[in-house]
Amino acid sequence: MNMNYTADELAFRDEVRTFLEEKLPADIAAKVKEGRRMSRADHERWQQILVKQGWYATHWPEEYGGVKWTAVQKHIWDEESCRYGAPRSIPFGVNMVAPVIIKFGSEEQKQHYLPRILSGEDWWCQGYSEPGSGSDLASLKTRAVREGDHYIVNGQKTWTTLGQHANMIFCLVRTNTEVKAQEGISFLLIDMKTPGVTVRPIITLDGEHEVNEVFFDDVKVPVENLVGDEDKGWTYAKYLLTYERTGLAGIGASKAALSHLKAIAGRQKKNGRPLIEDPTFAQRVAQVEIDLMAASISNLRIIASVEGGGVPGAESSMLKVRGTELRQAITDLSRRALGPYAQPFVEEELALEFEGDHLSDPDGAALSPQYFNMRKLSIFGGSNEIQKNIVTKMILGL
């Protein structure tokens, strides 16, 4: 039993810290830490800094511009970058479609798409969920019919995160209706500028435009945009989901959020003292911190087993449930810390550029919206109920 980093790992951590101290723009870090609105340009600026450092594509082989990090190194990166307030990379290109293209795509696809992901020329979004297909993803209905050297695509995708910025979408489409649901699905890359593609915003309960509906109306897609074999898309989709699930526990992000909560509770007052010294509130924060401590060790145990050649399976489902519950508990407490001031929705204060007087806490405006926004954590990436089904079958054998 040894829970310490090796000398090499410690050296890597120092390197990461130095990089973050020197290269992470202060305005971006402030936005991330304080929960303010990030622009598309913010994401792009940070991506280019990472690409230049060679630390953007951490799941890719080196020949395509990736960096070969161990599971522990990835963990160190996650912890440190969250602590410093670095934005999480938008995963759809670099961490989702790219691994699929690398593993199952043609050489032309690799040569064409991978450099464009690194350069930021392509912004990808995900076309998985449909209005009738959420947890039951394999029931998807978007149809692709082969006509000569094209597919004609008709249907609708939904919950498409940041689709408003994207120029490319990877889609699961039905190419065969004669076989079992999972066996008639293909993985298609679609240019969003193709005639017949329409993006409609979905405004969420916190007033944000983060997700979209994407409609396909007789959209012509060249057959060379098919990844792998026709009707084999479900295999690729599942491969991609294992990448999606990794990191959904968000332990590093929860640690950063907890530290932010403590700062706010240190500024808010109750009975003339800082709220963090109030016995009731302090106990609530302590309880979350204790549970987070346990979850972060569970996380490390999974990382260590991957490092030792194990495969993270259903354990990552368990951790996703725990991790998202913890993050939600932290946002609950952050909202509670404001007392009556959790009610005002002062949208203008969500901008870093806001120069007026803050209504309450300088970081207060984001707290209630974030609490509501973070309800998504237990819904997306496979709802927590679905994750528990996975644990039931894969670990418990029930």
Binding site: L205, S360, R375
Partner: protein, 380 residues
């Protein structure tokens, strides 16, 4: 023992329910919320015309002499419609403070106009540092000639942006957080030195903070005895708590109804998702939370107008604690059972969830009321 509404109470509840059904379908509510006023002037008028603003006041002042249960009947239906009008602030709390502490002139001037729906009131008791402790008041009122000069800041006055009259607590003596030394003043929102910072709220209403900079008021602005407002504030916010509990029950009932409908109609894996046992049990837990909340709302309504006592305080604190927890559970789980659609602006469910969470931030959350209750625990 009879937990049913009597015939009059049932008629009252039906009247409000009909009005809400007619005027407050979800699309209309979104429009009211987005308007500059933030609610429906027309609906407010109808509340007045139907006599609903007169419910709690004594007959000699043009009221119905209604009980806590009558107010509960109205508030539950307003909660079901997610109504945005300042009924609780004006009729229950504002009217209640003036009834209890006001002199005859003040009652005559304001209560009859509250009862008809002619004026709207906002009440400012919280402050940036108060965190629900209404004795934690730093706003000061100093004697000046025959009147007073007020300085300070009152926080999160729901409906304060459009109120005709603002009631604020201010300290005339004592230190911050002393129970004694609080006074209650009626402020003209347009008076010199009164500044309002107006904002929408998370649950679709509007409110403001009120900044008082050397605001001059006459002696007639003082409601009740100088330095003695603590008791009336405590008592009347208890009535507001009971009203909020009733409103929350209406919102919970609707959230549960929407969720149950969804479980029966939404199909995944070839069956309605309500066939999955884990969701069935969750739905049972939500319904059971609702029953707990309903019980406490009834209890709170039944003591809301009783004489002040530790027992009344205990019950009201207990009710708000139960409703805070039940509201959060139902808000969170009804979103979860809906999945993504439960998080969208254009579907009503999310708005019920937001209102339920925000009710927990009005007049004390479940933690605050647990502490209140604990401080009044009986030895045996």
């Amino acid at each position: 023992m009879d937990f049913n509404l009597n015939e009059e109470q049932q008629m009252l509840q039906d009247t409000v329910a009909r009005l809400v059904r007619g005027e407050y379908e979800f699309e209309k509510r979104l429009k009211y919320s987005e308007s500059e006023l933030g609610y429906s002037e027309e609906f407010w008028k109808q509340l007045g015309e139907l006599g609903l603003c007169a419910v709690p006041f004594p007959e000699e002042l043009g009221g119905f002499g209604g009980s806590g249960v009558d107010v509960q009947s109205v508030m539950t239906e307003l909660g079901r419609g997610l109504c945005l009008e300042p009924y609780m602030q004006t009729v229950v709390l504002g009217g209640g403070l003036i009834s209890q502490a006001g002199n005859d002139n003040q009652k005559e001037e304001w209560l009859s106009r509250i009862a008809t729906g002619e004026i709207k009131i906002a009440v400012g008791l919280d402050e940036p540092q108060s965190h629900y402790n209404l004795n934690d008041v730093e706003t000061r009122a100093e004697k000046s000639g025959s009147g007073y000069v007020l300085n300070g800041r009152k926080g999160v006055l729901i409906g304060g942006h459009a109120a005709d009259l603002i009631l604020v607590s201010a300290r005339t003596s004592g230190d911050s957080r002393d129970a004694d030394g609080l006074s209650l003043f009626a402020i003209d929102p347009n008076a010199e030195g009164v500044e309002r910072r107006v904002y929408p709220t998370m649950d679709g209403a509007k409110g403001c903070d009120v900044f008082l900079n050397n605001v001059q008021v006459g002696a007639d602005a003082l409601i009740g005895e100088e330095g003695q407002a603590g008791a009336a504030i405590h008592y009347q916010t208890g009535r507001a708590v009971a009203a909020l509990c009733a409103e929350a029950v209406g919102a919970m009932e609707e959230a549960i109804k929407l969720t149950l409908d969804y479980l029966k109609t939404r199909k995944q894996f070839g069956v309605p998702i309500g066939k999955f046992q884990v969701l069935q049990h969750r739905m049972v837990d939500m319904s059971s939370e609702l029953e707990q909340a309903r019980s406490m709302s009834i209890l709170a309504a039944s003591v809301a107008n009783d004489d002040a006592s530790d027992e009344r305080d205990r019950i009201l604190a207990a009710a708000k604690n139960v409703i805070g927890r039940a509201g959060q559970f139902i808000a969170e789980q009804s979103i979860q059972l809906h999945g993504g659609i439960g998080m969208t602006w254009e579907y009503s469910l999310a708005h019920y969830a937001k209102r339920l969470i925000m009710i927990n931030h009005q007049f004390g959350d479940d933690d605050f009321h647990l502490e209140q209750y604990a401080s009044l625990l009986q030895a045996s």
